[in-house]
C-alpha cells in the first residue's frame, strides 16, 4: 500500500462500510433477521457518515486518495473528488432507503441472506466505480458490478429469471469486453489511465486521432450498454423480472448510473471536453443520446406493463445525462450531471411505488390501476411527484435538469436540442398522465385483492410502513432538489462546482 497518505483510509472506509456487512451477511443463517437488519442499516449509516465527512473535507479543499500497486505500471486508485462525491452521496442515501424498502419487501421470503449479501456487494462496487481514480480501477469495479448484480436479477430462481439473467449478462459482459479492449488500446498508446481534469490525450500527435476516435467508440459502446443507449438498451426491460428493490438498484442507484457516470468520466477526465470536441466525437454522441431519449419515450408509450413502461422511461431519462455531457458548454454539463442525481431520486420513487402496487394489490399493468389513488393515497402521491418530475413540471427536480440542458444547448449553439427536449417532455406527459388520471380520477374496482397483511400499519389503507416510507422520502427529496436548487446544499450547487472545474481551469 504505497502512497497511503493520512487521508487514504476514508475512501477505503466508504467501500468497506458496504463490503464488510455484505460478507458477514453471506454467512448468516436465514432466520437471523434482526442481526441482518442491524448489519445492513449500520453499514448504510456508516457509509452516509463517511461520505458526509468527505463531502465536508472536499468542500474545504482536502483531498482523499488511496493508492496500491496492482499491475506493472498501473495502480488501483480510490480518490474522492467533487464528481465522485456527487455519485457517492446519491448512492449512500438511496442505499439506505432501498435497504429499508428491501427489508420490508422481502419480509418472510426465502434466501434473504444471499440477497442482502449481493445487495451490499452491489453498493460496494458502485462506491468503487464512483471513487475510481483511473480507468483500470473503474473497469475493475464496473465489471464487478456486472457480476454481483447477476444473482440479484435471477434471485427468484424461475426459468424466466434465468433467461432474463442470460440476456442481462449477454449485454453487460459483451459491453465489458468492448470496454476492456478500448482501455487496453488506450493504455498501449498513452501509458497512463489516470483521470485528470483536462484529460490525458490533448498532447498526443494528430496521427493518433483516428485511433483515439475508434477507442472512443469502443469505450462509449462498452459504457453505453449499462447506460442503456439505443441500440444497447435491450437488457433493461428484460431485467424487470427481478424483485422491485433490485429494479430500483438497477435503474436509479447502481447499474445505469455506473454507465452514465463512466461516460462522464471518459469525456471529461480521459479525453477532456475540449479535446473531445476537437476530435469531433461529441456531436455524434449528442445525436445518439437524443435518439435514445425519443426512442425510449416512444416505446414507453406502448407498454401496458407498469414496470416495463418505467424501464423504457429509464432508457430515455438516463440519456439526458449523456446529452448534457456531449453538448460542449458549462450549462449543459450542469444539466446533464445534475440529472444523475435528479433522475435517481425520481426513478427510484417510481419503482418503489410500482413495487408497492404489485406487493400490496397485485397490480402489474397500467390498466389495473383505476382508482388506486384512493386505496393507496400516499404511495400514489409520491408516484405523482416522481412522474411530474420526469415530465419536467416545475418545481420538481426534473425541471431543473431540462432547464439547464436547454440553456446549455442554446449557449453552445445547438438549437436542435430544444425540440428534442420539448418532444420528449410531451411524450413523458403522454405516458405518465394517463396513469395519473386512472389512479386519481377513475372509479376503483369493487374490492382489492389482499396480497399482504397491512392491517398492523395503516389498516385497509396503504401498505407496510417500510414500503411506504422510502418512496415518500425520495419523492420529497426530488421535490426539494428542485425547490431549493439555489441553496448551498443542493445537488445543483455542487454540480456547478464540478462544471467550474471542467471548464474554467
Amino acid at each position: 500500500m504505497d502512497g497511503m497518505s493520512g487521508n487514504a483510509w476514508l475512501p477505503l472506509m466508504v467501500v468497506a462500510s458496504a463490503l464488510l456487512p455484505g460478507l458477514i451477511i453471506f454467512g448468516l443463517p436465514e432466520e437471523k433477521v434482526r442481526l441482518r437488519t442491524v448489519l445492513n442499516l449500520s453499514g448504510a449509516f456508516a457509509k452516509i457518515f463517511f461520505t458526509g465527512w468527505m463531502l465536508w473535507g472536499v468542500y474545504h479543499g482536502n483531498s482523499y486518495e488511496m493508492r496500491m500497486a496492482f499491475l506493472p505500471g498501473l495502480d488501483l486508485v480510490l480518490r474522492a473528488d467533487s464528481l465522485s462525491l456527487l455519485f457517492i452521496a446519491l448512492s449512500s442515501v438511496l442505499w439506505l432507503l432501498t435497504t429499508v424498502y428491501a427489508i420490508g419487501y422481502l419480509e418472510n421470503s426465502p434466501h434473504r441472506s444471499r440477497f442482502f449479501g449481493f445487495f451490499s456487494l452491489c453498493v460496494t462496487s458502485t462506491s468503487g466505480v464512483a471513487m475510481s481514480g483511473n480507468l483500470i480501477t473503474f473497469l475493475l469495479f464496473y465489471e464487478l458490478l456486472t457480476l454481483v448484480t447477476y444473482p440479484l436479477v435471477v434471485h427468484r430462481g424461475t426459468e424466466a429469471a434465468r433467461r432474463a439473467g442470460q440476456i442481462y449478462l449477454t449485454y453487460t459482459i459483451s459491453g465489458g469486453a468492448l470496454l476492456l479492449l478500448g482501455v487496453v488500446w488506450l493504455y498501449a498508446i498513452t501509458g497512463t489511465l489516470e483521470f485528470s481534469p483536462q484529460g490525458i490525450l490533448y498532447h498526443l500527435d494528430t496521427t493518433y486521432h483516428p485511433a483515439l476516435i475508434a477507442i472512443f467508440v469502443l469505450l462509449i459502446a462498452g459504457l453505453g450498454v449499462k447506460a442503456a443507449l439505443v441500440p444497447l438498451h435491450g437488457w433493461l426491460p428484460e431485467a424487470m423480472v427481478a424483485p422491485a428493490p433490485v429494479s430500483a438498484l438497477l435503474h436509479a442507484v447502481a447499474v445505469v448510473k455506473a454507465g452514465a457516470f463512466g461516460i462522464v468520466r471518459v469525456v471529461y477526465d480521459i479525453y477532456g471536453i475540449d479535446f473531445a470536441a476537437e476530435l469531433g466525437v461529441t456531436g455524434p454522441l449528442a445525436m445518439l443520446a437524443a435518439v435514445t431519449i425519443l426512442y425510449g419515450s416512444l416505446r414507453a408509450l406502448a407498454q401496458d406493463n407498469l414496470k416495463r413502461r418505467l424501464a423504457f422511461s429509464t432508457v430515455s431519462q438516463v440519456s439526458y445525462i449523456t446529452l448534457g455531457v456531449a453538448i460542449v458548454g458549462p450549462l449543459a454539463t450542469i444539466g446533464g450531471v445534475v440529472h444523475l442525481v435528479h433522475q435517481g431520486l425520481m426513478k427510484i420513487t417510481l419503482f418503489f411505488c410500482a413495487g408497492n402496487l404489485a406487493e400490496t394489490l397485485g397490480i402489474h399493468k397500467v390498466r389495473e390501476m383505476n382508482g388506486v389513488g384512493r386505496r393507496m393515497p400516499w404511495t400514489m402521491a409520491a408516484f405523482t411527484l416522481g412522474a411530474f418530475g420526469m415530465i419536467g413540471v416545475p418545481p420538481v427536480a426534473g425541471f431543473i435538469s431540462k432547464w439547464y440542458l436547454g440553456l446549455g444547448a442554446l449557449e453552445a449553439g445547438e438549437p436542435w436540442v430544444i425540440p428534442v427536449l420539448i418532444g420528449s417532455s410531451l411524450l413523458n406527459a403522454a405516458y405518465f398522465l394517463p396513469i395519473l388520471h386512472r389512479a386519481w380520477f377513475r372509479d376503483p374496482p369493487d374490492s382489492w385483492p389482499v396480497m399482504r397483511d397491512t392491517a398492523r400499519d395503516f389498516g385497509d389503507k396503504e401498505t407496510a410502513w417500510a414500503l411506504l416510507l422510502p418512496p415518500v422520502i425520495t419523492a420529497l427529496l426530488a421535490l426539494f432538489a428542485g425547490l431549493l436548487a439555489s441553496t448551498w446544499f443542493s445537488p445543483l450547487e455542487w454540480v456547478q462546482l464540478i462544471a467550474q472545474r471542467a471548464f474554467y481551469h
Partner: protein, 489 residues
C-alpha cells in the same frame, strides 16, 4: 537461521513424497496420514527453498556431488520456484479434498500414486538438463495415467489408455529431439546448450520434434483430442491434478526450451504456436459451450485456457522480456482456478448423483460454498476483474496491443466472452429448479472449503502480480550473467 538456509530444500521436496509414497505402499492403512504429512512437508520444503532463493539467488545442487555432465544437477530459479509453489499449494488443496473424497478402497491406490506424481513434478521443475526433464516428464505421465484409471470404470480405462498412448508418443518425440540436440551441441545442460546452440538442420529437427511432443502432452489444439475424455472420466481430485498441474509440466519444459534455446531464432515457429493457441481458445471454448455435462465442460475449458498460455510465444518473440513472468503467472492462475472448478464439479456430482448441467436443481441454495467456488473460479477463467485471470489477460492484451497484434487481442476478447457463456450456463441452472427435483446428498464441509479456498486463491493472486514479477526479475539478472542474452530479448 543460517543452518536452516543451508539445507537442500530441493532434495527434500523430491525425497519426501517419494518416501511417503513408498510408505503408503508398504502400510496401506497409513495412506491418508502419510499422504497428508508428506504434502504438508513439501509445502514447508518449498517455502524453505523460496526463502533460500530470495536470500542467495539461484539454487543449484549437484546430487551426490557428481555435477554435470555425468551427474544430475538440481536447479531452481524464479520460474521454477513459481511452478513449485503452484504445485505445492494446489496439491495441498487437492489433498485435503481427497482426504474426504475417496472410499478406503480407492484411497490406498490414490495416495501412493499421487505422492509419486508430486515427487515427479517437483523433480521436473528442479531439473536443469533436458534428459533429466525427459525422465521426470515420463514419470509424471505414467503416474498421471495411473491416477486417471483409478476407479477402474470403463470410461476411465478408455480415457487413461488414450492418454497413455498420447503421452508416450509425446515423450518419444521429445527424446528424439534430446538425442539430436546432444549430438549437435554435446551437452544436455540447458545453460551449456544455450551458449553452444546454432540454428542448423539438426537443431531445427530437434525443435520440431520436441515442440510437437510437448504440445501433444500439453494438449495444444489440435493435439488435444486425448484430454477431454481423460480429464472428464477421472475422479474429481484427479481431474483437478491433471488439469491444474500435469499439463503445466510439459508446458514448462517447452517454455524453458523456448526462452533459453529456441526463442532467438525460431520466430516463425513461435507464430505457429501462437496461431494454434488462438485456435485452441476458440475451438475449446466453443466445445465447452456445447457440453451438457459439467466435467466435460470444464475439461474443454482447459483446452481453451491452454491456448492462452501459447499466445505468449508470438508475443515474446517480438521482443518482450516479461514473457516468463506472464507464463508463470497465467499457469499459476489457471492451476488455482481450474482445480477449484473441478473440485466444485466433483461436489456437484456427489450432491446430485450426476453432472447434467440442466438438472443442477437449486444447487446455489443447497450447496452455496461449492457454487461460490465454481463462480469465483469462473470469474478468473473468464478473465473478469478482480481476479488473477483478469490480470493475466490484461498482460497478454497489453503485450498484443503494443505489438500491433490485433488478431490475438480479438481472439482473447472473444475467448473471454465464450468463457462467460459456458460458466454462466452452469451458474444460471444452479439457481433454478430442475424439472424433476431431486434430493441433495450431503457433501462433507471439508470438500466444499477446499474448492472454495482454491478459488479464493485464484482471486487473491490477482493482487500479487508484482510479487510474481519480482521473483522472475531477481532471476533475470542472474541468468543474464550466466547464460548470455537469452532473457534480455
Amino acid at each position: 537461521m543460517s543452518s536452516l538456509l543451508a539445507i537442500d530444500w530441493g532434495v527434500i521436496a523430491i525425497l519426501l513424497p517419494l518416501a511417503g509414497g513408498t510408505a503408503c505402499v508398504l502400510w496401506p492403512a497409513l495412506s491418508k496420514p502419510a499422504g497428508l504429512i508428506s504434502v504438508t512437508g513439501v509445502v514447508l520444503a518449498i517455502a524453505g527453498l523460496g526463502w533460500r532463493i530470495m536470500e542467495n539467488g539461484i539454487y543449484r545442487h549437484a546430487v551426490g556431488g557428481w555435477g554435470a555432465p555425468l551427474g544430475i544437477d538440481l536447479f531452481a530459479d524464479g520460474l521454477s520456484l513459481i511452478m513449485l509453489i503452484m504445485t505445492a499449494l494446489v496439491g495441498l488443496g487437492i489433498s485435503f479434498y481427497a482426504r474426504r473424497y475417496f472410499s478406503p478402497r480407492d484411497a490406498v491406490r490414490f495416495w501412493p500414486i499421487w505422492l509419486f506424481l508430486l515427487a515427479a513434478l517437483n523433480a521436473l521443475f528442479l531439473s536443469a538438463d533436458i534428459f533429466n526433464l525427459y525422465v521426470t516428464l515420463e514419470m509424471t505421465g505414467l503416474a498421471a495415467v495411473a491416477l486417471t484409471a483409478l476407479t477402474g470404470r470403463i470410461d476411465a480405462l478408455g480415457g487413461a489408455m488414450r492418454y497413455l498412448l498420447a503421452t508416450l508418443l509425446g515423450s518419444l518425440a521429445y527424446l528424439l529431439g534430446v538425442a539430436l540436440l546432444y549430438h549437435d551441441a554435446g551437452s544436455v545442460d540447458i545453460a551449456t546448450l544455450a551458449q553452444r546452440i546454432q540454428p542448423n538442420a539438426a537443431v531445427w529437427t530437434a525443435l520440431g520434434l520436441m515442440s510437437a511432443g510437448l504440445a501433444l502432452k500439453t494438449a495444444l489444439f489440435p493435439l488435444s483430442f486425448w484430454l477431454p475424455p481423460a480429464h472428464a472420466s477421472a475422479p474429481a481430485p484427479v481431474s483437478a491434478l491433471l488439469s491444474a498441474l500435469v499439463v503445466k509440466a510439459s508446458f514448462y519444459i517447452l517454455l524453458r526450451l523456448w526462452l533459453e534455446l529456441f526463442g532467438d531464432f525460431a520466430q516463425g515457429a513461435s507464430m505457429l504456436l501462437g496461431l494454434l493457441g488462438a485456435a485452441a481458445i476458440l475451438w475449446g471454448s466453443l466445445q465447452a459451450l456445447r457440453q451438457t455435462r459439467i466435467k466435460l465442460l470444464v475439461a474443454y475449458s482447459t483446452v481453451a485456457q491452454i491456448g492462452y498460455l501459447f499466445l505468449i510465444y508470438p508475443l515474446a518473440s517480438a521482443g518482450n522480456g516479461i514473457a516468463a513472468g506472464m507464463a508463470a503467472y497465467l499457469a499459476f492462475s489457471h492451476a488455482l482456478a481450474k482445480s477449484a472448478m473441478f473440485l466444485a464439479a466433483g461436489n456437484l456430482m456427489l450432491f446430485g448423483g450426476h453432472d447434467r448441467i440442466a438438472d443442477l436443481d437449486r444447487a446455489v441454495q443447497r450447496l452455496p460454498l461449492t457454487v461460490a467456488a465454481f463462480a469465483l473460479a469462473g470469474v478468473s477463467i473468464m478473465g473478469l476483474p478482480p481476479s488473477s485471470g483478469f490480470v493475466g489477460k490484461w498482460l497478454l492484451l497489453d503485450a498484443a496491443m503494443s505489438q500491433g497484434r490485433w488478431d490475438l487481442a480479438v481472439v482473447m476478447i472473444i475467448g473471454g466472452l465464450l468463457a462467460a457463456g459456458y460458466i454462466f450456463k452452469v451458474l444460471g441452472y444452479a439457481f433454478t429448479q430442475a424439472e424433476v427435483p431431486h434430493d441433495a446428498r450431503a457433501v462433507p464441509a471439508g470438500m466444499e472449503w477446499a474448492a472454495l479456498l482454491l478459488a479464493i486463491g485464484a482471486i487473491l493472486l490477482g493482487f500479487m502480480a508484482s510479487e510474481i514479477f519480482a521473483l522472475i526479475a531477481v532471476d533475470l539478472v542472474v541468468n543474464a550473467d550466466e547464460a548470455g542474452t537469452v532473457w534480455t530479448a
